[in-house]
Every structure is written in structure tokens, then in C-alpha cells.
Subunit: 279 residues, 4 copies
């Protein structure tokens, strides 16, 4: 059995030794091992992939016993067990398409039991890929109610994380608090940044030479949560706002897909306001 | 004789035809030709490099006559005539070093008759390259006076443009207004941007995955003038603020050198708040 | 009417002037204009986009008359007239998917009247996008015959160019000669290059840190025709051959889509063994 | 005391545990830890940086005892002890300049006790940085003799590794064998690759859109040894061979500097024909 153990705790001597001892004690052989200490917050994080014939329960027992004194946040799961994602979309399809394409190709180790949208445009696209689609229109009045429906679906379908694949609604802090560190969003990014509406038009007016996208976690109390992944592309003066938007779509779908894959493989740790990503 | 003509005016039919006619009329053969219309501001810009045996005066006459009706900003110069740069530095050498290195290699078609600094650290480095160095310390009290010294040097040495190669003083709006579109600065850039002190530490705390640099024109009335060139590099969680600063230096020197080269070859046009760059 | 004129001829003085005069003479206003002289072969190429209310025939007449003395290869077409592509595939879908996705998004100004494959795997994918699919299995015995079927389809459907979107058959020199400069292929590229089977495994064994893809024209007499577009991605030691293949797919689909878009907008000129691309 | 331990051996269960136990046994606290198993060759490599107040000898004793049964190649050194590089150059200065610049900046943890060249052009540049310069002209007749001088200098100056910073002589297999895995070279790279003289001109004729550089180890029995680091830049049709060469220089100096830094920090392991690089 191939397992991934993720561990996060205050840094102190002996953790790596305790982890490797615990893995050995449940008959495990380490395949991958990555660790990092964030000195700002004195936080230690570790991701260990190992094989053992003794199974998940034995691994849980051995690691809990061996690492207990460090009071870690410890998570163990079979590598073969795919995290289940709820994907939220509005009407733009580019990010969703890439997720479904990579899923079909077997390159994205997740399951998508449901796509929810506040609009109906993408219904047939989603269903043509064999994924259920739920239309959940949102107004100022029904927002709280609709988020309850979402949370109910999350519970019912045993959803592990939420992907905002160009979902153009702001989630309430209640919803965010219910899924801490489990909501991934994608948005455009520029050098320098722009506030307000029509950012690509602002970027165009300002003559930026680079446009980009950022995948990040959504948090209730932050304007923008911890960054997971970023990428950029070069543009020049001849790009119209529309061409910049098209290029932006290409970057967004790539960056979001990478972030989802990293999440699905338990490679992301949130430490303070930033992420440690074992790519 | 190899000449570069730069033209900027309101867009209207017939400009390209008029330019090519004027070039033909002074015996010219076009080697390079680039043009662009900025539809937001209805501005037409054109850069034409051509050879003629009739010389600079004949070219001036022919182009002024042929293009006069468009009331263009028209600039013609021999390609072999190198623009003269005043370089301002403080104590960081990385950008200056790359400029001097490329100069010695013959890859940067400029002359640097003088380097001015508000500190003394780089004096021997500059002089070891055979370039005069002027120490001009700046305080709140003497700033206006020192800028006058600079402007006098600019006049005396027939300086064409100013390069701020990590010059850590803010130039007055008077100084900026005296050299409109002729002062190039370099600074760090991030996704997202950060205000205030110690930007690399802020970027580190925020866990950015990309850092960059922007070369731009300095303007009196803008927080940050038209962008000339930008580039980025990827970082991950393991980079300390110091390593990010080191990487930032590498990007800064590269981006500034490229911007100076583009300027020196008359490839940059300022149109509204942005630049058209014929790379 | 918005027109694109593409011109290629031996370089000599006066061509730009003649073109702009000819455009003026048919009431045209130049929107975009790009030109380049390849000094190795003394070849001049020019792409001019202009608007005229006098229509295509008037433009043809004016440009043919005005430019005739240069014996150019001259091509004029309405911008709105989309080139028609025959796409050939085998069983890998990634390149085809991106073409169809961009087509649906309105970002790729082509039409795809037919997809032909030597295998049946992609039939339902193609047809689900409303594009006819022709299964044309190829053996050593029937190859010449099947290529005749293809050429018949090309004639019947007024195909302008052929896109090999991971078509795993080698086209005969007869076929290539029938579509000179009109067949675009995509393949993987490495630093350094590798010959023979299983290139990603070879690249893995050699520990390359960069993998890439090249879109190029197919020619009968060259091992590999003129390069249109290339891109790369960084990998490290931890990438398995399978992960490198997956990353390679991402680069391939991006590079091929860009090459097809450049071709569809008449931005590519073949000059000797290389291309001039007005991006 | 801050130490770096590098370990390479056949993969088998328990190595990580043994290493962490051995570190604990000499009072060590792990700061950085990276490991990788190359499944093709069944090779395990590990780099562990740790602090201990017990000193280098205690660390050697503990790690040798604890890891002995794995028959590893084990190397321990104080982080503060800088590897000593012999830099070989010919007449091009770009790579050497960047190494000296980073050295002066304190960003490259190496010492350069000597630069040797088969030409005299760079003598004053090297000496102006306070580094001894040895002129060692090479002919077919004296090559073996001159390499003996080099090897004597390597012994005398306790040189740890050799950097070929655009050294245009081929080292004999005798010389290479005397410094296995300790000679770093830089050369240009293209997609596709080119054999023979004037590669940039070949790349230009072929119209490549990407040029690059590769830093690699030099080995006696391989055409080109294990790749350490690679990077690329985009070019278009307008780049002359000379401009491509200039751009190539920029990539070369960057890639070589990175490779030397990785080497100086014990981050590179040679496994078969490839490298594992803990960046």
C-alpha cells in the first residue's frame, strides 16, 4: 500500500528521526520525502510517501504514537484515494475544460462528483463529460441559502476541496470558514497590480509587458489568501485588451490545473500567510 | 549613411506612403520599417531605418517637406551617432556593472560621459572603467542645488538621456520636467505588488512564486511612468528574502540593460501612459 | 472591407513605396504593416492589412499593377475569410482538443471541414464538436491510395492547409509536394536533440533540464522543414519519463495552436530554410 | 557548526532513518534535508544540512558508524568552507565576469585562487579583481605538458573543482579522468542541435526560435557529460547571427553561474548519465 503522510508542527529537533522511525515501525519504505522549516513562524512541514504491506491502520497507529509528542497536524491517506473536488463555475469554460481534459487523460488524480454554476451556459459541456451539473443562481437575497445548498452537497458527496474555476461570485466568510485551506481560486495578475473593474483594459492602458495568473487559497479574513502557483506571459504594445484577455485565459487554465494537481497530491502546506509547495 | 527616422503624429491615411516617398526622394533605401497605430489615442508611430548617400541634411529636408502636413514629432539621426547617457547610482553596482560590461563588449550603442552618485562607494569601480565619476551627496537642504549641478552637467556634456541604475533618491518634478521621456528607471515588481519598505520581505511573507523587475520612464506627475520592459523569475518557498533580493538583482540588471539598448536604438515611443516598443 | 496583402520578392529599393502607393490608389487605409528583408537570401517580405471600401477586385488590380515590376509572390484576401484546415490525427487528442476549443471560443480564425485519422479512437470526440471524421487506415500497401483520397478531399473541400495534430504517419513526398508550405507539424524538441524511438525516455536518461516542442512546415526534401514556433518548459531529476511526456503534451498543444493561428492570419513567410513570422 | 552531508548509495530501506539517527547521535539538528531515489539505477542520494556543537570530527564518526552498512559515498564538510575553483578561460570574458561579480557580491560561496588561460587577453581583467592569472598557451605539441602544469597547480592550490568559462581547448581524457565529476563546462544549445562550426550561424539559417545554453560535467568517455543546468531565450527572424551570439552570451553566463553555485553548495549528484540537483 502506497501512502502519503503530511505533517505540520512547531519546529524542534528530532522530528525527521521520529517520522522515519515511525515509518520503519510499520514496515514502511520511504519513496519520497520532503521537508522544510519556515523560520519566520518556526514551523516544520514534511511530506513522506512510503510503501507498507501493513496497511493504513497500522501506519496511523505507528505515526500517531511516534510523532504524538510533537503535537503535529498529521494526515495520512492512500495515494490511490483520489480527493473529491466540487468545481464552481460561472460561464467561462477555459479552466473547467482543462481540468476535465486532464482528468480524462488520467493526469489529474481527483474526482469531480459535481459542478455547480450560478448560470446555465456550461450545463451541456459538463454533462457531456459525464459529470452532474447543478444550476444554483445567486442573488443578494438567496446567497446565504444557496451556500447552504452547496455545503449540504459538500457533506453529501464527501467533497474534500472546492475549485473556483472562474466562479464570479464572492463566497461569504461563513462559507470560507467552513472549508479553511480547501478552496482554490484563480485570478489574473499583473505587474503592477490593478484594482477595480476591467483589469485587462487597465493593464493595456498602462502598457504592461507581462500578464499573469495566480492560483491561491480563499480565506475569509484576507483580501487574497496564500499563493499556490503563478505564471506569466509576455505581451507587447500590439496586444489589444481582447488579445490580452485571451492570453490571460491560457495562463489561468494552466496555473489552476497545476495548483489543483499539487493540492490533489498533498504537496501544499499553508504556513502563516504563505504556502510551502513540494513540487 | 545609415539613418533612423522616428515619427509620431495623429493617425490619418497616407502617412506611410508619405514617409516612403520622402525616403525615396532623398535617395534612401529602407532597411527596417516598423509602424503602429494606437487606437485608444489615435496615435501613429513609425521607425524607419534607411541608407542614403545624400546625407543627413538632405534627409531632414526631404522628410520635413514630405511629412510636414501631418505635423509629426519627427526625429532623424545617424545610426552611428551614439546617444549619451548620464548614469545615476547610489551604492548598488549590479545594474551599472552590466551597462559597462555591455558597453565594453560593443553591444550597447551609447556613450557614458559621466556617472554621478550620492555616495562614494562605486567611485573606483567606475573610474577603473575609464568613466569620470562625480560624487554629489544629496540632503533635503541641498537637493535643489545638486539637481542644478546635474542639469548643468547634462547641458555641458550634451547628455541625451538619464539612466537611474539603482539611484536611491527621488528626483524633483523640476528635474523630471527638464528631461521628459528621457529618464529611465528600474525597480522590482511583484505579483501582487507591494507598497512601502522592504518589498522583498513583504513578498517573502506573502509567499509569492514570481518576482520581477520593471524598467520605466520617470515622469513628474505619475507615480510610475510608462513601462518599457519587464521580466520575471520563479521562486519557491525555500527562497529567503536575501535570496529573493539576489535573484531580483539579476532580473533588474537584465531588464535595465535591455531598456537602455531599446532607447539607444530609438525603438521606444511614449503614447499616452504606455510605450510602443519596436523590439 | 478589411484585407490582408502578403508580398514576397527579391529585395530592391522602392517596394514599400510602391505598396503604399498601390494601397492608396485603391482607397485603402493601412491598419498594420510589417516588413523584413532577409539579407542572406536578399528576400523582401511584407504583410499589410488595410481597409478599403472599393473591395477585393479593386485591391487586386491596384496592387498587381503597382507591384508588378517587382515580380512578387502576392496574395490578397479578406481578413474575414477563414482559411480551411484539414486536421490529421492518430489517437492522441491533446493538440486536436486545443484547436477545437480555441475554435469554439472564436480565437482561432480557421474552419475545420474535416478531421482524418488512421485510427478510430478520436471519432466520437471529433463528431461531438460537430466536425466530420474520416477513418482512413494506412498500411504500407494502401498508403499511396489513401493519400489520393486525402488529396481528393482537399480539393473537394477547398482545403487551404493541413495540420498534423500528432499524426503518426509519414506523408509521402508526393503528398508534401502537393501542398508546399501548407502542411504544419508539431513534434517534441530537446536540448540536446535525440534520434530514434522513445525520445522522452532518452531525454530522461540523459537528465535534460528543459523539454520543448517545435511547430514546423513539412517539406518533402528536408528532414525537418522551416521552424514556425517553439517553446519549452523546465523539468528536474524527479520527473519520470511519463511526467515528461505529460508536460510535453502541454507544450505541444500550446505551440501547435500558436503556429496555426499565425498561419491563419497570414503572418508566416517561408524564406529559404527559415520562416519570417510577424507575430 | 553548520555542516553539509552528501550521501549516495544503492537504495534500500532504512537509510533515511539511519542518517537522521546518526545526525541526532552527534547532537545535530537538521536544517535542510533532500533525498531522491533514481529508480533506473536504484541509486539513493541525500543531502542533509545540520547544525551541531560537537564539531566535524564527531559528525564524521557518527555518520560513518551509522551509515557504514550501506557502503555509501559519504561526504561531510562545514558549510562555511568554500570550495576552491580553478577557472579556465580563453579570450571571451562574459562567463568569467559574472563569476567574479557574484564572488565580490558574496553570492557565490567559492574561492578562485587562480585563473588559467591559453591566451593573454583577459590577464588585466583577472588581475584587476585581485586574482592571479597564469598564461598557459596550448599547442598540439605542448598540450600534455601544459595539462601537467595545470594538474600541479590543482594539487598545489588544493583546487576542488574546475570551471571551463568558455575555455576553447579540449581537455585530454587523462586530465578529465583526474578530476571526475569535478569539471564544469558551458556551451550553447539549440532546438534542434547543430554539429560543427559556427553553430549560431547554422541556427540562424535554420530559423530557430529558441536558443539556449547547457552547463554540464566534462567526462572523458562521453561526448557530453551529465547536464547540470539549462536555460533558453526566445529569438525571432530579425535576429542576426551576431545578435544571437550576444543573446547566447547572456544565457551562458547566467547558466554557468547557477551551475557553479549549485556545485559549491553540494547540491549536485551524478547518477548514471544524469544529475540529481537539489535546487
Amino acid at each position: 500500500m502506497d501512502l502519503i503522510a503530511s505533517l505540520q508542527c512547531a519546529d524542534q529537533p528530532g522530528i525527521v528521526h521520529a517520522m522515519t522511525t515511525a515509518v520503519l515501525n510499520c514496515g514502511g519504505n520511504i519513496i519520497e520525502n520532503q521537508q522544510f522549516t519556515d523560520h519566520t513562524t518556526n514551523t516544520f512541514v514534511m511530506r513522506t510517501r512510503f510503501e507498507t504491506s501493513q496497511g493504513l491502520d497500522a501506519a496511523h497507529k505507528s505515526l500517531n504514537e511516534g510523532l504524538g509528542k510533537f503535537s503535529p497536524a498529521l494526515h495520512i491517506r492512500p495515494t490511490a484515494e483520489k480527493p473529491r473536488a466540487l468545481v464552481l463555475v460561472t460561464k467561462e469554460s477555459h479552466c473547467l475544460r482543462d481540468l476535465m481534459y486532464l482528468l480524462e487523460l488520467g493526469e489529474l488524480p481527483i474526482e469531480i462528483p459535481l459542478v455547480i454554476s450560478n448560470r446555465e451556459e456550461l450545463k451541456s459541456l459538463v454533462e457531456s463529460h459525464g459529470i452532474p451539473f447543478l444550476y444554483l443562481p445567486v442573488t443578494a437575497e438567496n446567497k446565504a441559502e444557496q451556500e447552504k445548498v452547496m455545503l449540504a452537497k459538500i457533506a453529501e458527496l464527501k467533497i474534500d476541496f472546492v475549485v473556483l474555476a472562474r466562479y464570479m461570485q464572492i463566497l461569504s466568510s461563513t462559507f470560507c470558514a467552513a472549508m479553511p485551506g480547501k478552496i482554490i481560486n484563480i485570478h489574473h495578475s499583473f505587474l503592477p497590480g490593478f484594482k477595480g473593474a476591467r483589469p485587462y483594459h487597465q493593464a493595456h492602458d498602462r502598457g504592461v509587458k507581462i500578464i499573469g495568473a495566480t492560483a491561491h487559497f480563499v480565506t475569509a479574513d484576507l483580501d487574497e489568501g496564500p499563493i499556490i502557483e503563478q505564471d506569466v506571459a509576455h505581451v507587447n504594445h500590439s496586444a489589444t485588451p481582447e488579445e490580452m484577455i485571451a492570453l490571460g485565459r491560457d495562463i489561468e487554465r494552466r496555473v489552476l490545473a497545476r495548483a489543483v494537481k499539487l493540492y490533489a497530491e498533498d504537496r501544499i502546506f499553508i504556513v502563516g500567510h504563505r504556502t510551502v509547495v513540494f513540487a
